[in-house]
């Protein structure tokens, strides 16, 4: 019997039993190749086709809105919790909000005004929770928040004729134009590949890599970066505080601890007024999971000596935020931090480093716009222009470290250019992801099929 190369390869896979078209695709066969092979094998009565239906559910546009902002009825409840009653005319999306709210017995309407019921007081936003946890049910479907599609899956069933066939008897028709099966290979993770490229870029620009620890004292994460001890970023909801080990011994930072204390309290010898409050050692000793890689930069400043200058360092690693994980938020992600430390550096130099980095990462246009961090001045947000989407996207912050950061940690005056940038969004665009959790989910199909990112082909 004569068979094409592609049909023969499909037969190989059929040896272990029936197989579906998508399983074949997963194994590296491309779709047109599979279709041609199916026609050929059916004609020779080597296979029979069986069709199976698979139900696929996904979130619709209005579902996404509810997942992000809450359902209309729950938004109404929140509004009522703030202040009630509310006139019907002042309600956003009133048909849905009131209809559903009444149905759930969350609200009560008296004389054209809406009140919260006891059930409403204790209501939780089930719709948005179910959407975010992908726990789909009929109610979501009825509301058009999810849509269900039935995919027809073709399954190839080997016939008796195929089973009796001796594979060695098959003559292969050689078709140089046909696609063959793509082999499975070992491969770097697509996100790690982008990080490797970023790391490579800093190295090409002459930077040395610095590394640091996940768990750091608040001193390094906040105090050394001139973040006052009552700053909202230090409040429980943003930062992971450690139970084990609870606190750090700061004696390794030498005089810097006293310098930082004095700088916060009265400016020390930095030429600043300081924040003007009583600095607490106990607060500085508390261990946290670092919320930014700038903690690594702060540590490096503490290690540098005058004769090391000028010096430039980068870091690319994980940071942590105590957030509820959903399609837009993660409890950990990556940042790339950089510092350039010297006697004579200025804001124009900062702009040059950032522009060079992003140009090498494939972005032709970038801009700096005013922003604010307690530890930098100028404080800027870095944005690059995404040509595909025609929009500016924010990729992180940058600036010059304040003298209140530099002198206490370094021990002498210097100018320090600094930045902390995110590259997760580049990875999401490259793999065409809408859910940020996919960067960590390791779906084998996604890992295998995402092409290598190249800056010139971002």
């Amino acid at each position: 019997m004569k068979l094409s190369a592609q049909a023969k390869q499909v037969i190989e896979e059929l040896k272990s039993g029936p197989i579906t078209v998508s399983e074949l695709e997963e194994l590296g066969f491309d779709q047109s190749m599979v279709n041609r092979a199916i026609l050929e094998l059916e004609e020779k009565e080597l296979i029979e086709l069986e069709e199976e239906e698979e139900i696929v559910q996904k979130i619709t546009e209005s579902g996404k809105n509810v997942a992000e902002n809450g359902s209309p009825e729950y938004r109404l409840v929140e509004k009522l919790r703030e202040n009630q009653p509310v006139a019907i005319a002042d309600i956003e999306n009133p048909d849905l909000a009131i209809g559903k709210g009444k149905q759930k017995n969350w609200i009560d309407i008296r004389e054209g005004e809406v009140y919260l019921t006891e059930d409403g007081e204790n209501a939780e936003d089930g719709a948005s929770r179910k959407l975010n946890s992908e726990n789909f049910d009929e109610e979501l479907e009825d509301r058009g928040l999810i849509e269900t599609n039935i995919l027809v899956e073709k399954k190839l069933i080997p016939t008796e004729k195929l089973e009796e066939l001796d594979l060695d008897d098959i003559e292969q028709e050689f078709d140089v134009e046909a696609d063959v099966k793509t082999p499975r290979t070992g491969k770097r993770h697509f996100y790690k590949h982008i990080m490797d490229q970023a790391r490579q870029t800093w190295l090409e620009m002459g930077f040395k890599e610095m590394t640091g620890e996940f768990v750091v004292p608040s001193f390094l994460c906040f105090d050394a970066l001139y973040t006052p001890q009552d700053h909202p970023a230090r409040e429980m909801q943003d930062t992971f505080f450690m139970e084990t080990p609870e606190s750090s011994d700061l004696s390794g930072y030498g005089a810097s601890v006293e310098n930082v204390k004095n700088t916060h309290e009265n400016g020390w010898t930095t030429g600043s007024t300081g924040w003007g409050y009583d600095w607490s050692m106990e607060e500085a000793e508390k261990n946290v999971l670092r919320t930014h890689t700038t903690a690594v930069s702060a540590r490096k400043l503490n290690e540098l000596e005058k004769e090391d200058l000028p010096a430039k360092y980068f870091d690319l690693s994980r940071v942590f935020r105590n957030e509820t994980v959903d399609r837009h938020h993660l409890a950990e992600f990556y940042q790339t931090d950089g510092i350039v430390v010297g006697e004579d550096l200025n804001f124009r130099n900062l702009k040059a480093y950032i522009s060079e980095f992003f140009e090498r990462m494939g972005f032709e246009e970038f801009r700096l716009i005013p922003s604010y961090y307690p530890y930098t001045e100028m404080g800027v947000e870095v944005q690059v222009f995404d040509e595909a989407e025609e929009e500016w996207i924010g990729l992180g912050g940058a600036g010059m470290f304040r003298p209140e950061v530099v002198k206490p940690m370094l021990g002498f005056e210097a100018t320090v250019l600094a930045w902390g940038l995110g590259i997760g969004r580049i990875a999401m665009r490259s793999a065409e992801l809408e859910d940020i959790r996919e960067l960590y989910r390791n779906d084998i199909k996604l890992l295998e099929q995402t092409p290598k990112w190249r800056p010139e082909n971002k």
Partner: protein
């Protein structure tokens, strides 16, 4: 960051000229507040925490009057001599020690202006006020009140009044129990035995700071004269917030009148003097501007500025809370100059790049394992007891643990990698087998370092399939051994996560640096897998010490 909603028409009225949409969209954000059009005349403005003076339409108009060069230079504010005094009883020291006060007369208010005022008040509470703990503000219609006022503390059950948003008098302690604001902010007074109140000459309660005001003094469109109180725990913040409020009200056409607070005349509307050295400016910014050009840009940012012999005397307005160092002035000058106008210039720094040894080794190891046909994974460092221990069939170990994690799923830092690999297999149950997965990444292990815990780079490799046994993974370990020129030894060992008789410790020069084995059937089942799994894990840092 805070968002405020403002009306473009009001903004234009206050600034003194019309402003195009394009100006707001393109140019306005260059000042450092971001403008987004909502609908009609409504705009949303995002303000950074260093500029609480921009949290009102009045404050924004004042700043943009300079930035758009309608009227540059410092605004002058003056307070008329005081008619009202406020006594401070020393008992407040233990609860809420500081208070500031001022009067604004001849205001022409409307519903809309009052809403803007409430917005400013609420945003200041949230930001500088640290949710009313550090500072809290009260605004009162003066017409119902009789001076002098007194700030003191009283027993919780001894005083009652009808609070805003309520219909009958309540005792202070009941306000904390029953009233919505009382419930929301009672935590601030948690440790207080007596509660702070402000009363007038007839013992009428103005306010129960930081909780709620008396309904009697509610500011309404008919109100013309307003008494402002600011109480708090930080002397400087109280004064700044008072200045931000009274200058905003003055921008509205009100006349500021001072109040004698415990012998001190408030508010202090004088500016603070600072020096900006022209050469220092040039050095930090890299911009070659003349002294006059710098002065002009400072005036655009509403500072008073005068140049003499290379040094600029800068008058910092009383409502600015963020000028601590010359750097802050430099930033404002560069903002007025425009970040877009700045030409990048690469400095010459002769430095050769380089990586630490562990990073290089990690990359080499990744390349070797990838060469055996395995896919690299990328997993979370945060984990849970369930994943690290229970699912892996081993005793709970001491690990780096957070005390405030929102979910159990992210409540500890992993101390080994194999659980992460099992999770990868778990999420690929529907994909075809065999599956070969690896990752070289950071874990955290407790030790005697300054923090008590350090990162530890580890490598894990797993092979899952209908038949996946010890030899499959031992083969990969041997590839690693060959490529790195190592001499590894495996010694038979028992570990709960592996099948009995199919597990070993990996040693180099007699030191244990890892483990290898076939995953126990119970572990495979715990992760919802149906196939067989074998794997190994290596401590790359220990391995490096012994290469």
């Amino acid at each position: 960051m805070s968002h405020i909603e403002i009306d473009k028409r009001e903004f234009e009225q206050l600034i003194g000229r019309s402003v195009s949409e394009n100006e707001l969209k393109e140019k306005a954000s260059n000042l450092g507040a971001h403008w987004n059009h909502l609908e009609g005349p409504k705009w949303d403005v995002e303000v950074y925490p260093n500029r609480p003076d921009l949290l009102s339409v009045e404050g924004l108009a004042r700043a943009y009057r300079g930035f758009f060069e309608v009227y540059t230079g410092k605004e002058e504010y003056e307070a008329k001599e005081h008619e009202i005094s406020l006594e401070v009883d020393s008992s407040v020291e233990d609860v809420r020690p500081y208070i500031g006060g001022a009067v604004i007369r001849d205001l022409e208010l409307t519903e809309k202006k009052i809403n803007g005022l409430i917005q400013l008040q609420e945003k200041l509470h949230e930001t500088m006020g640290r949710r009313r703990d550090k500072i809290a503000i009260g605004l009162h219609d003066l017409s119902e009140l009789q001076a002098p006022f007194t700030y003191k503390t009283v027993e919780p059950e001894s005083v009652d009044f009808t609070p805003l948003e309520h219909d009958k008098p309540l005792h202070l302690e009941d306000i904390l129990e029953v009233h919505e604001k009382g419930k929301e902010y009672s935590w601030i007074l948690e440790d207080a035995e007596k509660y702070p109140i402000i009363v007038d000459a007839n013992e009428k309660v103005l306010s129960f700071p930081p909780i709620i005001n008396n309904q009697l003094t509610e500011v309404q469109p008919s109100t013309t004269d307003v008494f402002v109180d600011v109480t708090g725990k930080d002397r400087k913040a109280v004064r700044k917030v008072l200045n931000i409020l009274v200058t905003a009200l003055s921008e509205r056409g009100g006349d500021i009148e001072s109040v004698e607070v415990d012998g001190e005349i408030m508010p202090d509307l004088g500016s603070e003097s600072r020096e900006l050295d022209v050469e220092y400016f040039k050095k930090i910014s890299g911009l070659d501007l003349t002294g006059e050009e710098i002065v002009h840009r400072l005036e655009m940012m509403k500072y008073g500025a005068e140049l003499s012999e290379g040094v600029i005397e800068v008058e910092v307005p009383c409502y600015r809370n963020d000028v601590m160092h010359q750097y802050d002035l430099i930033e404002d000058v560069v903002i007025a100059h425009g970040y877009r106008e700045i030409e990048p210039e690469m400095p010459e720094i002769d430095q050769i790049g380089g990586q630490e040894a562990i990073e290089k080794l990690t990359d080499t190891v990744r390349e070797i394992i990838q060469g055996t046909g395995a896919l690299e994974a990328h997993s979370f460092a945060l984990s849970s007891d369930e994943k690290l221990f229970e699912n892996m069939n081993i005793e709970k170990e001491k690990v780096a643990r957070m005390n405030n994690a929102l979910t159990k799923d992210y409540s500890v830092v992993r101390n080994w990698m194999l659980p992460s690999m099992m999770q990868v297999l778990e999420s690929n149950r529907h994909r075809s087998y065999p599956q070969k997965i690896f990752e070289a990444s950071d874990t955290a292990v407790l030790d005697d370092s300054d923090t008590g815990v350090s990162n530890r780079r580890k490598l894990a490799y797993v092979h899952a399939g209908e038949v996946a046994d010890y030899t499959d993974v031992k083969a990969v370990l041997q590839v690693l051994e060959r490529e790195l020129g190592l001499e590894l030894e495996v010694k038979s060992a028992e570990k709960g996560c592996f099948r009995q008789g199919r597990a070993g410790d990996i040693l180099v020069k007699g030191e244990r640096i890892g483990i290898i084995g076939e995953l126990h059937d119970q572990v495979v089942e715990n992760w919802g897998l149906e196939n067989e799994v074998a794997g190994f894990e290596l401590d790359l840092e220990r391995m490096m010490e012994n290469i």
